[in-house]
């Protein structure tokens, strides 16, 4: 919170030069607040705060702690996927199969466990292997063919969509998986992926904790490890990166596998939260993940971004989506409101970062 006040003050006060001293502006260190504002995630942070304040005023139910928990839950299911998608985007690639990948993973786990009458953990592990495999395939195809990731993953997106439906129908005879909630291991897995705990009187979903933990981990990896440097390098300029000894193929393939891991995690959450999965779900979600990453300050062209930005990007998305309902606005306009609020928030983001980096 203190950061907001600092930042807000910086916006309202003109950038006055230091008292009494006349120096050449080029060599002075710019004030801390301005330097903070220039970071890619600060713009989206302010945008998120603006949206939050807006709904605090216009939608009274948002002021309730339980509502915030609900908004955070919605944000977390987007945010957990937005993280690896953002890392991949910093690494210069897209994954359009991320949305259906979530459902593919949930279907795999559910069908393996149910059809073989196994402990559900067997399904969970097989699904993890399958999801990482899909990620590996995406990355491998990309490196092998040199095609743009847009095309490669559009292909896997369509393939997965068809496979999800056809295999589910082939194996279960239906288009949704069977209820696995009475099977061994279900309650343990539910505790890990889909439980909730009380903070005071408010029930918070465990996905929120995972989301923030993953974000912290991703930030550390990006900023403090060699692998993090590799991600920026392959996204900035692949050939220069290779020239200075960055393992480009390894970095890109592992990033796709990371998206696979995220899809697995969110897929498991959906499975253990809702007991069954419909095979047609998930289409369109990939764009929401990408949107959260872009709103969060990741460049569409790669080489720039952060892991914290997409956290606020996902929060903004969840906040707007639920805020409109809390405010009780005419539902016919829902999608239009969503679009306007997102555009507005992104503009604030852009304006802040321009204003902060201008000399």
């Amino acid at each position: 919170m203190s950061m907001t006040q600092q930042a807000a003050a910086a916006v309202t006060t003109p950038p006055a030069p230091g008292p009494g001293t006349e120096k050449d502006g080029r060599t002075t260190e710019r004030p801390l607040a301005i330097r903070l504002l220039a970071r890619p995630e600060i713009g989206v942070f302010l945008g998120a705060v603006a949206v939050w304040v807006f709904f605090l005023i216009s939608a009274p139910p948002v002021r309730d702690g339980g509502s915030m928990a609900n908004i955070l839950y919605q944000s977390s299911t987007i945010g957990i996927m937005a993280l690896p998608v953002a890392l991949l985007m910093i690494g210069g690639e897209f994954d359009l199969s991320a949305g259906v990948g979530v459902i593919a993973s949930a279907l795999t786990a559910s069908m393996v466990a149910y059809q073989l009458s196994m402990n559900v953990w067997v399904g969970v592990i097989v699904a993890l292997v399958a999801s990482l495999g899909i990620g590996f395939l995406n990355g491998w195809l990309l490196m092998r063919t040199g095609l743009p990731s847009f095309l490669v993953t559009l292909g896997t997106f369509l393939i997965l969509q068809g496979v999800n439906l056809a295999v589910t129908k082939l194996i279960t005879g239906n288009v949704a998986t069977d209820d696995i909630s009475d099977m061994d291991g279900f309650s343990q897995a539910k505790a890990l992926f889909s439980s909730s705990f009380d903070v005071g009187v408010v029930q918070v979903k465990i996905t929120v904790v995972w989301w923030l933990a993953f974000a912290a981990l991703a930030t550390w990896v990006l900023l403090r490890t060699k692998y993090g440097n590799w991600i920026f390098a392959v996204g900035g300029n692949k050939d220069s990166a290779r020239a200075v000894g960055v393992p480009v193929a390894f970095t890109k393939i592992s990033l796709f596998m990371l998206v696979g891991f995220g899809a697995w995690f969110v897929g498991m959450h959906q499975l253990f939260a809702f007991n069954t999965v419909q095979s047609g779900e998930g289409v369109g979600q990939e764009l929401i993940y990408i949107a959260a990453a872009v709103i969060g300050g990741c460049l569409l062209t790669g080489g720039s971004g952060s892991a914290i930005g997409p956290v606020f990007g996902a929060f903004m998305f969840g906040m707007v989506q639920q805020g409109i309902v809390y405010a009780g606005w005419n539902p016919d306009w829902f999608k239009a409101f969503l679009g306007v609020m997102l555009l507005g928030a992104t503009l604030i983001n852009l304006w802040v970062s321009r204003a902060a980096t201008r000399r």
Partner: protein
């Protein structure tokens, strides 16, 4: 290149290890409850097979792929096809233009009969007229209650969406509900809007609409949760599809709201939810019957010249209510995914 080859072999080793470990683990990991083993059940409906000459029937719907409701329609059509010794060509597309192209495709294949849904009747008019002109008998199902006669279809099998919505509205009057929330999972779908409008027409209390993103369950759940919180006077949630109803039950549970849940359409899990009491009742339009009857009627027309409804009246397959009183008789069929 060397590097890639090496990293690939390095990838394969752990993968093999994981696979081997998994195989070992599998042996000791059977679930003692639930699962396929517990699903012991009778086979599909089978009632012999007709010895009439083989014929081909095309069924073309506006169904989205991977939807449990439409899968039941298809199962009904397949059951009739097996029984009547006919080859069924099933195809579907949500967009009216593409659905019309599929009908044209069936005409080109010179099929012996067409069963079609008229979700957007005006868009289908031209191609249906072509089929009729080509001498192919056409019947309607599910959507198109107001247009089938005018477009020259032989019969129509379905439920009037408005009528079923009204029936649900009337039923709510008797349960004492005051404020109903109608949850629409696809924005701008005509048949769904008709259901909500029907509820609103006959329900004496207040009806509010809510749009959710049916492709993303976590978002469905938090949106319903948000609405229940925003308006605490809601005491009835009306959903338009079974999976949405089950998710709504979780939202109601979490918010501690006193709202009851009524829904359109059934599936296996919904039946157990009605049994368990978390869902009050469901309006069943008997999709299996729609698929079965439309295909069977084409067979009858070809072999005996009969047509249901005499070309005048539609054949109504719903609304039928499923609640605690009759859920047990339906349960056995729903378990097979045919009800």
């Amino acid at each position: 290149m060397n590097r890639t080859a090496r990293s690939r072999s390095r990838k394969i080793a752990p993968a093999v290890a994981v696979a081997a470990a998994a195989t070992l683990i599998l042996a000791g990991c059977s679930s003692s409850s639930g699962g396929k083993k517990a699903e012991e059940e009778a086979g599909d409906i089978s009632a012999g097979k007709a010895d009439t000459p083989r014929m081909t029937v095309a069924m073309i719907t506006h169904a989205p792929s991977g939807d449990t409701f439409w899968d039941t329609i298809r199962k009904g059509a397949e059951a009739a096809a097996a029984k009547d010794n006919l080859k069924l060509i099933y195809s579907n597309d949500e967009s009216a233009a593409d659905q019309a192209a599929l009908v044209q495709n069936a005409i080109d294949q010179k099929v012996d009969g067409i069963a079609v849904t008229l979700a957007k009747p005006d868009a289908m008019k031209e191609v249906v007229a072509k089929a009729v002109k080509a001498g192919i008998p056409v019947v309607g199902l599910n959507a198109g209650m107001s247009d089938w006669k005018e477009q020259g279809l032989l019969s129509f099998f379905g439920q009037d969406e408005a009528v079923s919505g009204q029936a649900l509205g009337t039923k709510l009057n008797s349960t004492g509900a005051q404020h109903a929330l109608c949850v629409v999972q696809v924005q701008g779908a005509v048949n769904l809007e008709q259901r909500c409008a029907g509820v609103e027409k006959n329900f004496k209390g207040k009806t509010t609409k809510l749009y959710v993103n049916g492709a993303d369950m976590p978002s469905v759940k938090s949106t319903i949760t948000a609405k229940l919180k925003q308006d605490s006077s809601i005491d009835e949630v009306v959903t338009l599809a079974a999976p949405i109803a089950l998710t709504a039950a979780q939202s109601v549970d979490e918010t501690g709201s006193k709202a009851k849940i009524a829904t359109f359409d059934l599936n296996k899990e919904l039946i157990s939810a009605i049994k368990g009491g978390s869902i009050e009742f469901a309006v069943d339009q008997q999709p299996y019957l729609q698929g079965y009857l439309s295909v069977d009627s084409l067979w009858l027309y070809k072999n005996n010249g009969n047509y249901s409804g005499g070309g005048e009246a539609p054949i109504l397959t719903g609304p039928a209510f499923v609640d605690k009183a009759n859920v047990d008789t339906v349960a056995a069929f729903a378990a097979k995914g045919t009800r």
